[in-house]
């Protein structure tokens, strides 16, 4: 009797291991950070585009108003596809769009805005990409919908039609 317990135990053990690995095989191995919402926005200082002044983030984001913090760059191709949607949102009265120019060349950025329009109320510079890390971003474009100094929605990648509708629904 004693000798029959061991093989039985081993078979069950390997079945469990097989199940775990089989399950793991089907999982997507591309990780996307959890969309941590309802977290406070970071406080930072940044240089303003087209001027030499530094601006503190506390002076930008006020209560009782919606803000979209959009990380963009002229070298980023998906930024071009989301630009018309940002232009559309910039007409909405209760939203202010703040741009964060990510590791960009000033000349190219100016050209980009001249060609496609400027939806941003303020553009801040992130020359080394360190401010984006403060925001928990890891690429361009990324957008954050902000209300009362809290991030209520995080969008990784370009804004598209569906996301635009969702943003309009939230900000109504």
């Amino acid at each position: 009797m004693k000798f029959k317990i061991l093989p039985f135990f081993l078979i069950i053990f390997f079945c469990i291991i097989f199940y775990i690995f089989y399950k793991g095989l089907l999982n997507s191995n591309i990780y996307v950070p959890k969309n941590n919402t309802e977290i406070d926005i970071p406080i930072f200082n940044a240089k303003v585009f087209n001027s030499n002044n530094e601006l503190n983030s506390e002076k930008i984001f006020k209560d009782d108003k919606f803000y979209i913090m959009n990380i963009w760059s002229s070298w980023c191709v998906p930024c071009k596809s989301e630009h018309p949607f940002l232009m559309g949102l910039s007409n909405q009265e209760n939203i202010e769009i703040i741009g964060l120019n990510y590791k960009d060349n000033k000349k190219n950025a100016k050209k980009f805005l001249k060609e496609l329009g400027n939806p941003y109320k303020i553009i801040l510079l992130d020359k080394h990409g360190t401010i984006s890390i403060d925001w928990g971003a890891y690429g361009v474009p990324e957008s954050f919908l902000i209300y009362n100094k809290k991030i209520i929605k995080k969008i990784t990648g370009p804004i598209d039609k569906d996301l635009l509708i969702e943003i309009k629904k939230i900000t109504k």
Binding site: P33, W135, G139
Partner: protein, 121 residues
């Protein structure tokens, strides 16, 4: 006496060097334990993506600000989740992961003990 002075000077200089090297070593150690989220599977230390280069600067700045290793990990965990660390921490989600090798070692040892040592007796 002169010899002693030189000796102290050399000691001082070598210590200074090692202090800087320590900071650099720690920076390398930290960036090797951080996962690049853009080129997944590579560490921040190995990667040359925009994100990795920025993160290297952030780690350097934080170390210069006097933050220790754990504080830097906590900061990044808050921003990106625990996945950014290569070394999973010991918590209720990872008990099984960390304890499984020990458990297997004990069970394996017990099997060997039963099969060989008791049998031989």
């Amino acid at each position: 006496m002169k010899f002693l002075n030189y000796f102290i000077l050399i000691l001082f200089l070598t210590n200074l060097n090692s202090l800087r090297a320590q900071d650099e070593d720690l920076q390398i150690k930290i960036t090797k334990n951080l996962r690049c989220l853009v080129c997944q599977g590579q560490s921040i230390y190995d990667s040359d993506s925009e994100f990795a280069n920025s993160l290297k600067i952030v780690v350097k700045q934080k170390l210069a600000d006097g933050k220790n290793e754990k504080e830097i990990y906590d900061f990044l965990k808050k921003k990106y989740g625990e996945w950014i660390l290569f070394n999973p921490e010991f918590n209720k989600n990872t008990y099984f992961l960390w304890l499984l090798p020990i458990l297997m070692f004990i069970i394996g040892g017990a099997i060997i003990f039963r099969l060989f040592i008791i049998k031989n007796k």
